[in-house]
């Protein structure tokens, strides 16, 4: 009986000293061990969404995969000067310009809406952009997918004989677009944009009402604050506008080459494009200028963001602008 207890005690003691021994070895290696311990714990947690695939919500003219964050208002001013090849008379296009002023807002982190007014054809446009899939950092989802839907109304004056009625619906056009993007590296992001534009009314008898196009865009980071961007929409031939005997009416594929410059709360986008207008309605399906002839517009976008709804946890923060 006693012997058994004695053995038990020795066994327990032995265990105790063994564990102390183990402890000794552990601490002998110092904080490298602790670091390894922390790292192995941390590694199991992080699988974050890829961020900053593009600098802002537009590549240059068209949409990028980015959304404004929840509670953030983005005030955007887009400006396109006249054609560069217009010569000294119009000071290489600087005399004439089209402008779009717009507001975008992030309702949630996956849904943003926007509204804008363009001087070109006195157009009002509204859109919603939804995040459907998001690329992940450490494997998993390899790309991001969003849907962008827009509606636009041109309120320019239309001169028709009194006998003809011009319906409001004639002024409308709709855009459906998928955005498929992947950030390949810190420097390179690419995006595909299958796009459908429907025009309720078109100018010519045999002009299609539906334009189908495939856009491709990308950005190349030159430095932390400067990126080169490009975007191009290929219109499928059958859906292009081409009217026999009206050479000026043929639509061209829009190509835009830009430069993103970021300074604090602003993003400046400088760009060259053959598209006169800014919204998808005109950009994708009704661009008529030809790069080859030098029908190029210089333009810029300015984006300024304002945080309207404070994110959670910042109620008592010391954030302040004097």
């Amino acid at each position: 009986m006693h012997i058994r207890k004695f053995i038990l005690s020795v066994f327990v003691l032995g265990l105790g000293s063994f564990s102390v021994q183990a402890q000794g070895n552990d601490t002998g290696n110092g904080d490298d061990d602790l670091m390894a311990m922390l790292e192995s714990e941390a590694a199991t947690t992080a699988n974050e969404y890829t961020t900053a695939t593009f600098k802002t919500t537009r590549i240059a003219n068209g949409h990028s995969i980015e959304n404004t964050a929840r509670g953030v208002l983005d005030f955007r001013v887009n400006h396109r000067f006249g054609l560069i090849n217009s010569g000294l008379k119009d000071f290489f296009g600087l005399d004439g310009a089209t402008t779009r002023i717009g507001f975008d807002y992030g309702i949630t982190d996956w849904l943003m809406v926007g509204f804008g007014r363009s001087s070109f054809m006195k157009e009002y446009d509204g859109f919603a952009k939804l995040r459907l899939l998001r690329q992940k950092e450490n494997g998993g989802m390899p790309f991001s997918l969003s849907y962008m839907g827009a509606i636009s109304v041109q309120t320019n004056e239309v001169n028709l004989p009194d006998t003809l009625e011009y319906y409001f619906s004639n002024r409308l056009a709709y855009v459906n677009q998928l955005l498929i993007a992947r950030k390949f590296s810190n420097a390179l992001s690419l995006q595909l944009m299958p796009t459908h534009v429907h025009y309720n009314l078109v100018n010519y008898k045999n002009e299609p009402n539906d334009v189908i196009a495939l856009g491709i865009g990308g950005r190349l980071k030159v430095s932390n604050r400067i990126s080169l961007t490009a975007e191009y929409y290929y219109q499928f031939e059958e859906t292009k506008r081409f009217v026999e005997g009206q050479p000026g009416t043929m639509t061209r594929n829009p190509l835009t080459i830009g430069l993103d410059i970021e300074t604090g709360g602003h993003v400046f986008q400088l760009l060259f494009s053959n598209s006169t207008a800014i919204s998808e309605r005109n950009l994708v399906g009704q661009t008529v200028n030809d790069w080859g002839k030098g029908d190029i517009h210089f333009g810029f976008n300015i984006s300024r963001v304002f945080t309207i709804v404070k994110p959670k946890g910042f109620e008592n923060s010391r954030n302040k602008i004097w």
């Binding site: 564990s19 110092g30 904080d31 602790l34 947690t45 300074t263």
Partner: protein
Amino acid sequence: MRINLNQAYMKRTIMAALIICSSVVNGLAQKYMTRTGKVTFFSSTPVENIEAFNNDVSGVVDAKSGDVAFIVPIKSFKFEKALMQEHFNENYMESDKFPKADFKGRITQLNAVSFGKDGNYPVQLQGKLTIHGVTKEVSLPGTITIKGNALTANAKFLVKPTDYGIKIPSMVESKIAKQIEVTVNSVLNRK
């Protein structure tokens, strides 16, 4: 009589076993750990005050050796302004290249801390602070608060972004402090 003696033996043995066991448990439980530690930084200038919070900090304190290690995942810093958070990661901390900041060091006067006794213990930490891929030898003042099985680590110190190769363009120089105040306030639990 015999039975009584047996009982006494039994009691003593159980007591001994309990004491040994508890000392064993104590011996194992010399590390305090967290994965939800809090680190805040604060930049104050006459133009703008900026504060960002991080609640994903991992930390460990070894009560026996005095070794301390903290890992701060940079992307977990939350800003009030989403764009500022993006710029912080993309332009300043380059968090794709340098995803973590860390501190490895030790408590220099370990004897001053009684881990078994509740109380506040001011300490000095000596070690290596790595931010943005640059490692500097630092000495940081802090406080350790023991309450039961919890150890609260508090520290407040200043970090110069330029010391760690973090470039601040002249355009925003007036908005970002030359020295950023870093506050650690993390509760670590005995393991």
